[in-house]
Amino acid sequence: MSPYAGPVQDLIDELGRLPGIGPKSAQRIAFHLLKLPTPDAQRLATAITEAKARVAFCQRCFNVCEGELCDICADPRRDGNLLCVVEEARDLVAVEKTGEFKGRYHVLQGAISPIEGIGPEQLRIKELLVRLDPEGVQEVIVCTNPNIEGEATAMYLARLLDPLGCRVTRLASGLPVGGDLEYADELTLGRAIEGRRTLDAS
């Protein structure tokens, strides 16, 4: 039996389902929210509902966007030859901030991780494959995180794309090993993009 009254426990449970939030943190955040003045709590609730209602995923690249296509997909000045594959929309933002990259993106919405039940089918990989020909993609730059799951995803993509005659490159090292792309500083990330290398499929 849960130690808290229904609505409190519901809140704790919901918060506990968020990434990176364990039971202890969920409890702390829940009680913090309960102490907030009602308008503040209301604002948070509205922000969540609004974002859910108005923001969707780009139908082409799965970046977050407000319409059917995101700003990048809709921009004719972007170089269609280059496609940068990232795990999450926040990684796209990180790469975009470097100003180094003029191509388009594809957001996988995760990385291969059997422990979490995420295999290739759970990712936007089929959607990636159907973009290659129509958009005339010459090179796919794999910008997954330099951790175990990101590396495995990169290798999977290399094996998948190599036979299709598409050049596949991976960010050059220089990125902190075991780190997350979104935390890399712009300089490091910019240099890594310049120094990208062919990803070998073996």
């Binding site: 059997p114 039940g117 175990i148 290798m155 999977y156 998948l160």
Partner: protein
Amino acid sequence: MRLQRLWLTDFRNFASAELELDEGLTVVIGRNGQGKTNLLEAVAYLAELGSFRGVSTDDLVRAGMPSAVVRAEGERDGRSLLVEAEINRVGRNRVMVNRQRLQRSRDLLGAMRVSVFAPDDLAVVKGGPGLRRDYLDATLVSARPRLDELRLALEKILRQRNALLRQSGGRLSDDVAVTLDVWDARLAETGEKLAAARAALVERLAPAVAAAYERLAEVPSEVSVRYEPWWRQEGLAAALVVGRDEDLRRGVTGVGPHRDDLELAIGGMPARSQASQGEQRTLALALRLAAHEVVTDEAGSAPVLLLDDVFSELDPARQAALVRWLPEGQTLLTTAGDLPAGIAPGRVLTVEAGTLRPGGPGGGDGVDGGAEPADADGGP
């Protein structure tokens, strides 16, 4: 590195304790259950942020108290070092080095090093292969802290691969096959690196173990230490291919560094099953002393050597041999009974029910500079 002073607050049965350590040998005397092992555990905690007794950090906090603090002052490479650890029952544990809070615990690796010998070490010789792998990997990480990344990566890859094997339900669909290929490649790469590092370590460890064993046993002995996983002949990638069907059936990875053994033999016979208890104890201690020697060499300075209840493990001749051959550097040794002849600790402390006082259990508190305790009483 050298430890000069140590403070404990609400650590195990120590409400509050402060002690100074000799730059050579410090001996802690106390009857059973008084806090000898607890004291060594506190020192080791600062190096490893965990208990060498393998318990959760909650158990380290004194009963009824919310948190424990262990603080040590010392020097390393000629610079002063202050390590402070706070162990909390609720919330995160914290570590500060020279008053800087560490963001990740692995940043501590190498700031302070210890080599721990405890009576439980006998299990390294007598127990299953997992304990010998742990011994090997802990020595590896102690000698080269960066290798911890390799060990952690291997663990993660194995967890992912095993999860995939279980999800496959024993069948190799095309999808599973491609994904499995990817994990196999990652596993092979990481596993080969770890095994190569282990093999290089064992090459240095083996002669050191044999030499330490002979010094303790005082008779010529043919001790061999070998790390020769069969899969290294063909390579892990090939071994994984051969084992794939079996792995799919069983849902676990059957080959790799996580299944290897470190083979120990005395006079050509496996030490685990055929050596006498005395030989096994001596070998366990020799393994620890050899690891200490190799780490000292590799790191450029000696870890603090922590010897828990070591005399109870050895006959009088071997006790005397150990005393004669104690490595240079700082040693903290505990004992419940008499001190062997010839021992010359720089400092002697007595522990009783979580209270420390200078000197041996019989006498006053004057023993402070090289003198032997006159009458360490007969122990329990």
